[in-house]
Symmetry: none
Subunit: 197 residues, 4 copies
DNA sequence: TATGAATGAGGGTTCATTCAT
DNA sequence: CATGAATGAACCCTCATTCAT
């Protein structure tokens, strides 16, 4: 038990250090040497846990994203929001606010994902056998049905929403382009509500 | 004159070779050595024209994009399309079709641009003093006015359109996700027409 | 007793696994990690039985060679061959045939021994105090005497035979160079019979 | 011209240094780092001339062997030896004496070639289009014919001679086993003369 | 005996950049 | 303008060996 604790501790230290460095200076220009130096771990130890720099990056993206969405979902349930478009907006709003608070995370995600890939990451996030019923896409579908909303193609709609939000908010939060995020939100939510009609 | 032709010829050979290699094997794993070898040029010559690998990459993105949009605009004018939303859709449709024909270009652009950056690239494309009146944003504004279209914030609208198109079409063309591009187009154009009301 | 059986079992598992990997991918590119993984044994356990990778290799060469020659000798005795040169040829022929059947073993031996070293390995094979009378060299000497064969220097003759056989047969079996082994044998045996006159 | 001289100089310095280190401590335990350090050359320079450690080793073996045999042939011609077996013995004797004087070279060759491979290296040594008539095998054949010597299969005979000489002399020179080389020579030359009858 | 997490020296390789020609 | 040999920092990765459990 003590051993497995230590083991976990090293892995965590590597993950946290890598995240810090990746956000500060980008994945490409962070060397494994730097990661292990800052994590106070031997070089070989890195390879005990991760195949290479890109594996630790992917683990980080998945972990961080999962955490973010789980928090959003749980908050939404607590707030007892019933109306479907309101639920969607709530989740988006929550995630945006989190990213505003944590621009490093935003930068990290944005720098490591090309167009469209985040979409797949997020949708697949919960698609594990046991939790499938709770997967993001499954939840979306279920909610669409229950709220008697008619969409020509719900999958396409979800896809467009995720892409629109992620690609535009990145600019808005980090560069206030075309508007600061709080001013941009009304336009964005307007379009989303339109998409859900 | 012959000399400056030759000079230009070397630069062009470097650009074309770099483009070919970047699309085939990615920017990162293309070395300057490979570029100059394939361009039949000495290594030092590369540095006469470009600061480093990333400068030549940026020059390429801008050149290729500019060419693409200029062709789209010129085609649109020839076709004498008057109605404003039709004009927008025509340009988008033309660009998408070009990228479908040339997926290497699409892949190159997508792999070298993170969220939101393409947007800025495109908008700034023509924002040089002399051509400002013909800049993409300027053209958009002028057309909005002339067609008596009322948009709360035209800049935001243009921004959302570009981001939505670019981020979703990448997935659709390359991976048929969520739908093959031809099936996806109707949904996309529908949303765009809605945005322009 | 059960314990010592288990101990022996682990050692044997290590030996067999190492042999398999060494023949498949070479000694140098087989790591101790691979050996212990395939033997289902912990890494530390390896060091309980062998000093390093090269010790286990040497143990293997000796064990495998010893087994081969013991089998050849026992077969020869069963066949009741009396004439001395016939005995020598029989043993050589038997060993060659075994190596033809098992080219991995041949490759393993050939890749791990440089010129002349195999000779010493073989000659010393039985030179342990108690068995000296049965050592290869002792046997050879005894047989020379008993058959009233006159050799200027029996040791030199045995040495030349072993070297000639081992160095030429390797090429012949594995690469059919200068001839396939079955066509080469007559030339080889001819020379050996000449050496024994 | 000055450049190509300098270029050649670096390559030669690398070759000589590598040879020295390889003979002193073996190919495997000589690192490229050591080679370039001792040659006063940057690490990258090594890769300008050789793919890896094993390419420089092979270049060395071929160069050194070629030199050795060319010297032997030229000496033989000067000495005007006519009788064929005497010619063969002369060449072997010359090469043996050279290796006795230069045991490092012998060790280097012996440590880097497994059974039978040297044979091929030597035979192919001069088999280039223009010199084919002077190739070792061609020379052997021509001489066999001219001296009206009848051999069942000259290629096999040459093969056996080379292997017998190389594999036994290594032991004899370096370890005086089974006899010091000068005492061993008569036995060896006896067998060779027998082979050539 | 047996384990296997941790180590870190050491090796091979790449490549952007410089500079003398 | 053009060259390309030379550089050497930087990187990734492997693996034999140790040692606390």
């Amino acid at each position: 038990m003590k051993i497995s604790k230590q083991k976990n501790e090293k892995e965590n230290r590597l993950l946290e250090t890598a995240f810090k460095l990746f956000t500060e200076k980008g994945t490409k220009s962070t060397s494994i040497q730097e990661i292990v130096d800052n994590a106070n771990v031997a070089k070989g130890t890195f390879y005990l846990y991760f195949k290479d720099k890109y594996e630790i990056r992917d683990v980080l993206i998945t972990k961080k994203s999962k955490k973010l969405f789980l928090k959003a979902l749980s908050k939404m349930r607590k707030n007892n929001i019933q109306n479907f478009p309101d639920q969607i907006i709530f989740i988006i709003d929550y995630v945006i606010d989190e990213l505003v608070k944590n621009p490093l995370l935003l930068k990290f995600i944005s720098k490591n994902l090309s167009w469209g890939v985040y979409n797949q990451t997020i949708i697949k996030l919960y698609d594990r056998p046991k939790e499938e019923q709770d997967g993001l896409y499954a939840l979306f579908l279920k909610a669409v049905k229950e709220n008697h909303i008619e969409l020509k193609n719900p999958k396409v709609t979800l896809f467009m929403i995720i892409e629109l939000v992620s690609s535009t908010c990145f600019d808005s939060i980090l560069y206030q382009n075309p508007l600061p995020i709080e001013e941009y939100k009304p336009y964005l939510y307007d379009v989303i509500r339109n998409l859900l009609k």
